[in-house]
Each structure stands twice: as structure tokens, then as C-alpha cells.
Amino acid sequence: MKIQIKNWFDSGKPFVWLNAGAVSVSVVMVVGLIALIAVRGLGHFWPANVAVFDYYSAPDDSPIHLMGEFVDEEKVSRSRAGNPDYEGATIQRNLIKTGNRDISGLDFRWILDAGIKNESFPEDAMIVERREWGNLYGFLVSMDLDGKQFTAGDDLWQKFQQTITDNNEIFDEIRHIEKDLIGGINYEMERLRLKQRGLELREEATLEKIKALDDQRNVLQQEYNSYTGELERLYGILNGSSFIARTAAGKEVKVDFAKIVRAYQPNAMNVFGKMSFYVEKLWEFLSDDPREANTEGGIFPAIFGTVLMVMIMAVMVTPFGVIAAVYLREYATQGPTTRLIRIAVNNLAGVPSVVYGVFGLGFFVYFLGGSIDQLLFPESLPAPTFGTPGLLWASLTLAILTVPVVIVATEEGLSRVPRAIREGSLALGATKAETMWRTVLPMTASAMITGLILAVARAAGEVAPLMLVGVVKLAPSLGLDGNAPFLHLDRKFMHLGFHIYDVGFQSPNVEAARPLVYATAFLLVVLIIILNLTAIRIRNSLREKYRAAEQS
């Protein structure tokens, strides 16, 4: 037996198994990580049942009535659980979301599993999502619509839902007026102010010019007045109705319909109802603005900001990366200098991204942006236009960060184009430019696309440089909107990666924000994995193609 074990060790097999184990651990970690994010992120939108129960914090205490969703559970040692009066060496704790932050101050609490008694899932338990103070958990008691009272009855819930739907339509209209129409007027007003200031600075402010500006202003002011009248009317409708809900503890609260996003009774839903609710919530997450300091609602501005920033970056990085690669590979004399440049370019891909952020802030924002403000936007000084972090500088910084990726990928593609193709083209009398444009570059197109996709994937995930050059936690307006010149390169923007950092670490209510952070992270991971897999696939098919070209 002893000899056998010694032989076994001498054969090296256990070491091979240990090596295999290292691979397995890595694979388990990757898959586990993605699974963890997926489960926690996607699970959030599923409407969990609402439990109503009596809770005894100690066996002899008088119970309190609680109502909420079970969010998490853990088993801990007695001493970590604070040595409760219940038996057992390990104690199970549950995290429940009880909502009603306006009443109890907290919307999450840890409770001991052993203290839960008389648990039930009543069908009329309702969750109300509000625009402030988070969720409300309770039972619907009555409604008051413009003075008309409705109490318990068969169609109370239907009427309740109908009112919410109607009110939400009005609310959307209000938001449209406030954000798009009045926002547009404000934007125009500001432009007129800057125009006048510019005229004054250049000393061209003649009376008729000022008069023309004033006329425009008056027109805008009238428009504005008509909108505020409409707003008052809509708010009047919205504020006329309220309802009364009873919490688990028996307290009755009056809530205005104006503050309600939606209400639902998860315990009464069947699987299909829950599924359609899930889809609705998921859609809200992808398409809506954030609410309540980014802890509720959607992440649309962050998605929009990320995509816009990456697109502007791509527009800048592709031509320059390709030109640099073509120059290095096709035009420059090959020698120690090009080799040195190649090493430098390769190495730059390994320079920490925060260094690019520092460079972007110093050079682009303060130096270039400051100079642009002096030259082109003197009328808005001292408020900076481009001399402050913004969309343009963020895109430029990331373009510099990712340009090595595009150069390396394109150069690889160029080096794979067989010499015979180039020589054939030249022998037929084409100039070098024509050879490049008509034969070599089309053959490298997919290599360039690979480089671009990898650059986009890297840019979409970077956060550290963006924190310095333009990302904010809440951007009041998108970088692209209906006000001329439509694309606002000087605006700040939101970004998925930064959103994760900000909501996860700077939020006042981390527990409530956590599921949304997981969901955002999942979205980002999926996006980046798809981009990378596409790049890998294109690269592989490219290699096959050249192998065929070389052999024929």
C-alpha cells in the first residue's frame, strides 16, 4: 500500500489533478459569479408573496404584527445573533422588507425565524409603490375620489386600479409638459440670455437687436404661461383623490393617488399574472427614469448615457486607430523605431485607466476645455461650457484609452493579408493608395470591427476615468434631445458602471438599492459578454478566411 502511494505520487498524477482543480476553481468562480448576479438581479422583479404574521422577539414578549416580503435568510452563531432567548447553537435570521418607511423609519429588518408565529398569506394584502417614502404594505380600506367615498365592496379593487391608471396618464402628461415643453422653453430662454450677453461683450448690442431678443422672450413667456395654466389644471385633478390603507399593526394611513406608481396584490396573483407583472417591472427598469435617489424605478438615462458616450467614442477611435495601424504597418519604414512604437502602444493598453482619467481631466477638461471657453463661449463665463467634465471629454478620454486596442487588432488583420494579394494589385498597375483602399482594407474590415467591438466593450465597463471626466449620479437632461443642436457634447451624463458604484456605495438606503444594483450589473455583464463573444467569433471566422486565402 505504502509503495503504491509512493508510486502514485512519483507518477505525478496528484499534481496533475491539482492543476485540473485550479482550472475547475476558476471556472466555478466565473460561472458562480455570473449566476449570482443573474439570480439576484433578475429575481428582484418577481412579485414575492406578502406574509402577515405575529413576531415574538423573545418567547415571552408580547407579539408585534408584521407584514412584508422575505428577502434573505442566514444561519449564524448564537453570539452573532445577539444571544437571543431562543434555543439552538445556530440561529436562523430572516431579512424582511416591511416597507412603510414613513411610519416605522426602516423598510428592512432582520428578524429571528423562531419568533414567527401565525404566518398567513392573505389575498388582499397589497403592495403600493409610491414616488416617495418607498413601498407601502397594507390592506385597502376605502377611497375618496373628489369627495365621493368608496368602501369595501366587490369592485373596490377594480376602481382603485382604474384610478391609478387614470392618474398615471395625467402624471405622464404633467411630466411631459414639465420636462419636455417647459424644459425646452427654459433652454431657449438661456440661449437668448447668452446671445444678449455675447452681443454686449462684443459691443454690438444695438437697440433693435435687443428688441428682437425681447420679442422672442415675450413669445416664450406667453407659451410658458399657457403651460403653467395647463399644469395647474392637471395638478388639480391629481390632488383631488386619496385612499386609506390599514397596515399590519392596524394603523390607518391616508395616501394621495398623486404619489402612487402602482399597486398590486401578489398573493392573489397566479403564475401568469406574476409573469406579466415581471415583464412589466423589467420594462420599467429598462425604460424609466430613476426614482428616490436612484434606489427605485429604472436606469434608462444610464443606459442612454453609456450608449451615447460609447458611440461618440467609437466614431473618434475607429478612424484614428485604423490610420495609425495602417501607417505603422504599411507606410512607416520597418525598423527599431516602429518596433519601439509597437511596444509602447502595446504597453499603453496596460496603463491603469485612472491615469487616463487624470490626463483627461487635466489636459482635455481644464486645458483644452478652458481654452475653448475663452475663445468660443465667452458669454457664459464664468460658468464653464466645455471647461468642465462632460460627454465630449469622457468620450475623448476613453478613445485614447481604447485606441491601442484598435491599433493592435487592425495591425493583426493587416499582417494576415497575404503578400501575394498586395503584389498582385500593384502589378496590375494600382497605386499604393488604391491597393490599400480597394483590396487590403476591405480584407481587414472584420479585424477592424473586432478591434472596435473590443474597444467598445472595454469602454462600456470603465468607470475610474469617467468619475473624473464627466459622469454624474443624476443627470437632469440627456445628451441627445429635441432642443437644437440636439447633441449636447458639453452635458454631463449617467453611466451604467458608475451607477453601480454610486447606488451601491453612496446611496442612503443600500439595502433597498441592492437588487437594482445587481440588476444593473447583470445588464452590464450581459452586454459586455455579448460584445466580447461577437468579437471572438468574428476573429475566428476571419482566421479561417485567411487560411483559405493563403492556401488557394
Binding site: W17, R80, N346, A433, R514, I536
Partner: protein, 760 residues
Amino acid sequence: MDTDNITIDTLRHDFNSPASLNYRKWRHIKDVVTRYLMALGGISVIFAIVLIAFYLLYVVIPMFKSAEIERIAAYSVPGGSNSDTLFYAMEEQREVGLRVTDQGQAIFFSTANGEIREIFDLPIPAGTAITTIANGDFTQRMIGLGLSDGSALLFQHNYKVTFPEDVRLITPEIYYPFGNETIPLNVLGDPIEHLSIQYDGEQATLLAHGTDANIKLLNLTKEESMLSDEIEILRENSLITLDTVSVVSLRADIEQRELYVADETGNIYYYDISNKTNPRLVQKVTAVDAGISITAIEFLAGGISLLVGDASGQIAQWFPVRDAENNYTLQKIRSFNKQKSAITAIAPEYSRKGFVAIDESGEMGIYHTTAHRTVLLEQIDNHALNAISVAPRVNAALVENENKEVQFWHLHNEHPEISWQSIWGKVWYESRDKPEYIWQSSSASSDFEPKFSLTPLAYGTFKAAFYAMMFAIPLAILGAMFTAYFMAPKMRQVVKPTIEIMEALPTVILGFLAGLWLAPFVELHLPGMFIMMLLVPLSILLAAVAWEFVPGNVRNMVAEGWEAALLIPVIIIAVIISVHVSSPIENMFFGGNMPLWLSREMGITYDQRNSMVVGFAMGFAVIPTIFSISEDAIYSVPKHLTTGSLALGATSWQTMVRVVLLTASPGIFSAIMIGLGRAVGETMIVVMATGNTAIMDMSIFEGFRAMSANIAVEMPETEVDSTHYRILFLGALVLFAVTFFLNTIAEIVRQRLRNKYSSL
């Protein structure tokens, strides 16, 4: 014949027709233009990339430049040279200067040309002469005159700034906070030989020395009367008796808690005067070498440090240091020996810890104490210099020489607080009991001493990298060995991209998981984590042994090279077991709470966001980098080497260790270098998964503050072109240099390896 000719003619194309020529020319132009455009574009992109390094340098370099001074004007003392100057001051805009003379005049003048703006005759009683002058903290602009009848006069010089017709107009004023009557100090009516005053807006402390060995202390406190608007002045006084009569200087600090008395033999008496009725001698210390006298004494901004200039030209910084028993003793912290003649005056800066000193040979020195740096030393005159005043913004100085000539200098001294010593070395900061490495870049108070030591940040960076590499290197390299050499090709096709996808995962996600999920998880299952580190390798070995006992026909069902797939369930089970036994083990050995046990029984602090968590998360981020490069290196070891080794009878493991690994080792080395480069520069993980406190401790249970995280956190809040801004750029430059260096080494090693492979 004819028909033949015709066909040939029509077929023949005239290559030299004007249209063809033009077209060819156009093509040629296009070719040339493209060539130049490409060159221009290519070179400019490469230039832009190179620009990064140069721009960082461009921002950093001004920090290390010495100060510059420029003489703007020189003129005879304003107000006539028949009186002697007692004191100079300047207002914030460096436009108006003040000269106080021994004839009792306060003369305000334009600094640019010496023209007199206004003269105030101070209310000195007839028949008395001014015997001495004292100034309080410069920020309070308070001056006290000691008179020959034993009384003192206190006044403030104030400046009102108005903008009539958009032009700045500065109007100087004299204000008497305690009335324009003199305050009697010495009962006996002796002349005041030495005076010290301090005023903080509410209370003033006057200390006067006459001809005997006594110092009279008088404390005046303004108190608003409860009933009327009248201000009542409360008085407290006491007497300090020295063991010497040869006092040179008296100085009380702005807080009016400490008094320093210098005597002719170079002793400094350190008194605690926080109790105004009962002053206490704390210490008597000899401040200068024997035979040398103290010639100038002044407080540094903030009133904690005392600057002592002596006849040999040395200037020393002293401050009270607290010992283990909470007793304070005055200690010499550092000294400057650059000037060679007796120091005549020292002018401290208003908000920084710098000062300007002049001496008898006409030299002026600009210094900074924290950085222990002589920013400038220049012979500005051939005559001895008598008096100096520095503008509040430290951008100008007034200097008077022995010929009663006033010189007005502009100073450019932006970053005196930076020196090699202050960035990388231990520095003894004010109110600290020993020299330390500290990073503390900002504070609420204005006379705060910034602590710009990059050492704790560099330490944090390498601590993070160290733990990350501890976790990543074994996993990545062992994994690469298996994947490249033993794994079935089909499985490799899946595994390699899977692990490489990890590289593209945004680090913000890893950081967020580490901070919000892993850190609480590790804290809750701390014993389980250590069990896991043992149990996982052990279970792999056990599985290997078990596999030997599996019947042959089952074993043959699994093709060779799929061991890794078999191990996945084993590892998952081992992890689950470790987590589940964590709580019972904690109950058994650690009193139910291991972090608490660590701090209580072992004295080890446990932070929830600690180095172990960062090690896991950042290790996770660098595994794919190391894995992918070393896998490539191992995979491309020429096949004839391995087949040769196997043919000679070596087992595959022997071949792996003795042949493959040895050949590929440069590649593995470069993989580790690149991984290290990534770990050093990683930002989001360290921002999110540590507490970001700049401590220097290798403990795995404590956090740190890394250079990159520091930049990301502090950069958005700094003022452009301030020292803090530039030092963050220096941090970025250091990161750039380190990663560039690591990557270059890796790249060169890889190039060599590639050449070696192709020659094998």
C-alpha cells in the same frame, strides 16, 4: 489588310491621351496625398499617446521648481529716514504697505513706488517714548507698542476695499479694539523693554518685561454687558519671575496658552499660561550652541511651532511634543543651515508652513518646514537687511536694509511644501510625537499642515497587489499548465474563452460584489473561509485517490483530459461543506464570533472590507490575464521537445515540470509581470472593497488606501493647479511609470521567448 488595321486601331488604346494623362496624374496625386495623410494621422495618434506621459510630467514638474523673486521697486523709507522703522506690514492685494516708526507714526504707502497714502499719528502720551513693539498673529493684524512709562498701546491696521467706478480702492484704517488710551502694565513705571501681545478677537494677552527679572502678564477679555450694549473689559493679571534679567524676546502663541521667553545666553523658557493667574514654567532649554545668541524668534503659521534664528545663520523649528505621560516638552524638530550670517528677521507665511528669513549679509532665504526645504536662497543686497514683511498671499515682500532703503519684491512660490523627503520619507508633523508617514491632504481649518506622504499609498497599492497575486498566481499558472498541456482539446475550446471572458468583466462589478456581497459573507463565515482554503485542495486530492479505485470500465468512459470537469462537483461540494461547518466551528473555538475573538483574544483589528476580500476580488480580476498569457507560452512550447522527453521515458508530469515549464518560464514570468501591472493600477475594486484608510500595516484583516483609489476619490475635489492637484498627478505618473516598466519588461521577455521558440 485594311480591315485588320482597323480592328487593331480600334483595339489600341491611347495610354497617353490627355484624359489618360490627367487621370493618371490625379491618381498619383491621390496616392501622394494619402501617403502624407496616413503619415500625419499615424504620427499624430502616436504623438497623442506619448503626450500622456509628457503632460503628466508637465503638471508635476512645477512642484520641484524653486521659488522665483523679482525686484519691482526700491525707494527710501516712506515718511523720512529721520525715524527708525519698528514694523512693516502689507495688505492682501500687496498694494498698500504699512510702516510703524519709533516716532509714533503709522505710515501707509504704495508698495509699488513708496508714495505715502496716509499718515496716522498714534496717540502716544506726551513725554513718553516708544521703547518696543510687538505683533500678534499676522492674521489678526494686531500691534502693540511698549512705552517708556510702562504702559502699552494696542491697535489694529485694517483695510477697506471698495470699487468706485469698477476700480479697486483700498482705504487703510487704524482701529483701537481696547480704546485709544494706553494700558498701564508695570506698576513701578519702568520702561517696557520687551512686549508680547496676542489677540483672537475676544481676548488679548499682554506680556511685558521691564528692567528686572519679572514678566507682567495681563489678560483682557471683552464681555458684552447683559443689560446694555456697552462692552466691559475683564482683567486678569499675574507675575512671572525669571532667573535671568537678560531677556531677548517674549512670545505668546495665538491661543494664549504658551509663552516662550528667550534670553541672551540662548535659553528658551517654556511657560504654560493657560491659567492666566497662575503661569507655570514647563521647561528651560538651551536652544542654540554655546557662544551663539538668538537673534530672531517668530511663530510659524498656526502658532504651534517656534522658529529660532541665531547669530550663526541657523534657523531651527521647535514645538512642544507630548510624551507617553502626556507631558509636553519643547523639542528641536529640524533646522536650516543655509544662511551664514546672523538672522535679523523671520517672516512666516500666513497660511502655509513656510517662512522667509533675512540676514546681516543681505541674503534672503525662503523655506518650508514640513518639506524641510530651502526653496530659495539669494543675495538680494550687499548691505545688512533689517526688516521684512510678507504679503498675506505670499506673493510679495517688503525688505528694509541698513541704509534705510525699502525694496519691494514679488515672490512666486507656489509649491514649497513638496520635497523628496516630504513625499517619500518620514516627516515630523506639528502636534505629532514622532516622525511618521501620513497622507492627509485636506482639513477644515486654513492653517492646517497638509501631509502629503505618498509612502502609505504606495504601500497600500503593493499590499493589494501582493494579496491579489497570492491568490491569483497559483490558480492561474496551475490552471494554465493543465489547460495547455493536459486538457482535452474539446474542453479547452470551452474553458479558455470562459476564463478569458473574465478579463473583460468590468471591475466595477467585481468591486461591488466584493464590497457588498463578499465582505459581509467573509465576515459571517470567517472560519469557513480558512477551512475552504484547506478543504478544496484536500478534496481534489481525495477525488484523485478515489478515482484510482473506480472500476476500469467506468474510468474508460471518461476520456483523458476531462479531470477538470469531474472536479467541478467535488469543488462545489467542498465549498458548501466549508460554509456549513463555519458556524459550528465558530461556536466551538471562537466563542461564536471569530472577528470579535480576533480583536479580543489576539489583538488583531478586523475590518469588514479588508485585504483578504480585495485579494479575492482583485485576484479574480488578474487570473485571466496571467492565465491567458502563460497558457499561450506553455501551449506554444515546440512539440518535438515534449515528444522527445516522453520518448526517453519521462512521465507526462516529469515532462511538464522539467521540460515544458522550464522552456516556458520566461513567458510565465512576463504573465506575472503583466498581471502585477494590472493589480497595481486597478482602481474600482480597491475603492469599493476596502475602507480606504491610509494605514501601513500588512495585516490581512485590515484595509488600506491605494494610490489609484486615492486619485479617483480625491481628484474631483481638488483645486486646479494647487499642490494637492499636482501631487495627485505625481501619483498618476508613478502608476504610469510602474505599469509601463512592468509591461516593458514583460514585452521584452516575451519577444525573446518568441525568438527562442522559432529557433528551436
